[in-house]
């Protein structure tokens, strides 16, 4: 016959514990105290992302990135042909027009890209850089070429964003076409890459469109149909959790030489020894990387990624790559990379995964329900254990005083049991995270903290220990 707890306040105590735990969990989920959830999830996502990059290298993407670097500017300025007026950054508007002309004039139309993103933000007219209207005229000419039947790449400019909108003067001088702007600055998305974002504040009376596609979406809207894919999903919006990947090349991602070393380093790091694994070589990014001076020296068609057959569509991104411009972004695989590569990797993700790209999804509601269930399970288990043990302590024939050996043995067993539970939870939650990340294409939020909370529950004082209460 089972023993029952005759003390009614145990029910109230259990109920209060349950309510307290639920509130504790909801606070952690919704308030993210001290940024613990955010920090831990970012750390796990970084390691998963790095591991995936080594385990699953990718094919080269139909993407060319042209870097405007200082040595190129210097070389082109000093060249006999004086390709650039400026001998340093920023370039003159005529220099930009000349670069754009080179980009869209591939000779054979089959060699031309389908779209170009020029990742330079012409925030407001700059007198020292010449006449911005000259650049605007060239952009209009590219958009509306003379004659009929000639196809020119669509050109997009960095259109700024809500915190740094393009000035109305620049917009006007550059042609006043909202369709040529791609959002290049955003907020309220954390580390995610939004497909659409505002181009200006809501209350701004500027002639700019209210929202614009991100650079990656703007380019992929041309690349996708040119590849003959189904592209209806492109207008759905959302935000991407970028996967930083590397080219399938033995020099970059040979899993038998790189992966074991990486895993050992990671384990050592979590054990408190060893440095973080080094960054991957940026040349391992799956893009055709070209310097500005190459653009002026290469034969027609040189922009096409070498692996692509003639006629296959590709896109081009152009950006200034200079540390002194401060446009570098943290990545899990390549440390900090120049901003134009962030856009390029977003295009790569869209091109490789289409609508299956890793999405930002707020699942705090699901996390909350799950936490309530876990708290209920643990409290019920604890309460039942008390009901079993409480009468024994209240009985007249109390067992003899246990020896130190007995107490130590019980404590060790209890500790082992709890540690096992914690390990199980860590493995379970990590597996859930991996499953959502890899199969469901969802980057979870507010999950890793559960390892900590469940540990708290399992190690709390009232956990049953098979020992009568004192």
């Amino acid at each position: 016959m089972p023993r029952t707890d005759s003390r009614p306040y145990h029910h109230i105590e259990a109920l209060l514990q349950f309510i307290g735990l639920v509130f504790l969990g909801l606070w952690v989920i919704w308030a993210d105290p001290f940024g613990l959830s955010t920090a831990s999830e970012k750390a796990l996502a970084t390691d998963i992302s790095r591991s995936r990059a080594y385990v699953s290298p990718v094919d080269p993407a139909p993407i060319t990135v042209v870097s405007i670097d200082y040595p190129s500017i210097e070389a082109l300025h000093e060249a006999d042909a004086a390709y650039l007026e400026a001998d340093d950054w920023p370039l003159s508007y005529r220099d930009h027009a000349r670069i754009l002309s080179r980009l869209v004039s591939a000779g054979d139309p089959d060699d031309a890209p389908v779209a170009v993103f020029y990742d330079i933000f012409f925030e407001r007219p700059r007198a020292a850089s010449g006449d911005m209207a000259a650049l605007g005229r060239v952009l209009a000419r590219i958009s509306d070429p003379p004659g009929s039947g000639e196809r020119r790449p669509a050109v997009y400019l960095a259109g700024g964003g809500v915190q740094m909108p393009l000035s109305a003067e620049s917009f006007d001088l550059l042609g006043g076409r909202g369709s040529m702007l791609a959002t290049a600055a955003w907020q309220d998305h954390g580390d995610y890459y939004p497909l659409w974002a505002p181009l200006r504040p809501d209350d701004d009376a500027s002639p700019l469109p209210a929202t614009g596609p991100s650079a990656a979406l703007a380019l992929y809207r041309h690349l996708c149909p040119a590849q003959g894919k189904d592209c209806d999903w492109l207008e759905d919006g959302g935000a991407m959790s970028l996967q930083w990947v590397m080219r399938d090349d033995p020099a970059c991602s040979d899993r038998w030489t790189h992966l074991p070393g990486y895993v050992i380093k990671t384990v050592l790091r979590y054990a408190g020894a060893g440095d973080p694994p080094g960054a991957a070589d940026p040349h391992c990014m799956p893009f055709h990387q070209v310097r500005l001076q190459d653009l002026f020296a290469m034969p027609a068609g040189g922009l096409r990624p070498p692996h692509l057959p003639k006629g296959a569509p590709y896109v081009v991104l152009v950006g200034a790559v200079m540390p002194s411009l401060n446009d570098y972004h943290d990545t899990p695989l390549y440390e900090k990379v120049a901003g134009v590569y962030l856009h390029a990797m977003a295009v790569e993700n869209l091109n490789r995964m289409d609508s299956d790209f890793l999405r930002e999804q707020n699942i705090r509601g699901v996390s909350s329900v799950l936490w309530v269930l876990i708290a209920l399970f643990v409290c019920l288990r604890r309460h039942r254990a008390r009901r079993r043990t409480a009468p024994a302590s209240a009985g007249p024939a109390a067992p003899p005083e246990p020896t130190f050996r007995d107490i130590a043995g019980r404590r060790l067993r209890a500790l082992g049991s709890r540690a096992g539970w914690v390990l199980l939870m860590i493995v379970l939650i990590t597996l859930i995270y991996l499953f959502c990340y890899s199969v469901l294409d969802i980057a979870l939020e507010g999950w890793l903290f559960m390892i900590g909370l469940v540990s708290l529950l399992l190690f709390s004082k009232d956990e049953p220990t098979d020992r009568p209460d004192p």
Binding site: D69, L76, D80, Y83, R102, S105, D294, A297, P323
Partner: protein, 124 residues
């Protein structure tokens, strides 16, 4: 007195050399991307696309003008074009520096508290 004469002679030689350089004649063998190259008509300053100029077929004789521009005549009118938009006869090929590398990535723990050309520091 001698010093003044020497200075005057030196100045005159510089001016003469400058004049010779300004009047240096070159031969344009190609207009790169004529659809997208603007010519400035002188003296009214109107901009025209090179491809819209009827009968313009290089080679064309031109003279160097200030600010790295070239002036040439076509059907009795003078036009100006950027040096970088054309190819000249006996032009030296662009030498590409294959050694320097592009700083595509920086170390994660690198920090920067100023921006090029901003003239002021900003703390991150």
């Amino acid at each position: 007195m001698r010093a003044r004469i020497a200075q005057a002679l030196f100045g005159a030689s510089i001016a003469l050399l400058g004049g010779i350089a300004a009047a240096e004649t070159v031969r344009i063998t190609q207009i790169n991307n004529p659809d997208l190259v603007e010519l400035k008509r002188l003296p009214d300053g109107e901009y025209l696309w090179a491809s819209d100029l009827e009968g313009l077929k290089p080679p064309v004789r031109a003279q160097r003008a200030p600010r790295n521009r070239l002036q040439f005549k076509h059907h009795g009118k003078t036009y100006e074009v950027d040096r970088g938009d054309v190819t000249l006869d006996r032009e030296q090929a662009l030498v590409v520096d294959a050694c320097s590398t592009v700083p595509v990535s920086l170390k994660s723990d690198s920090r920067q508290a100023s921006v090029k050309g901003a003239g002021e520091a900003c703390r991150k």
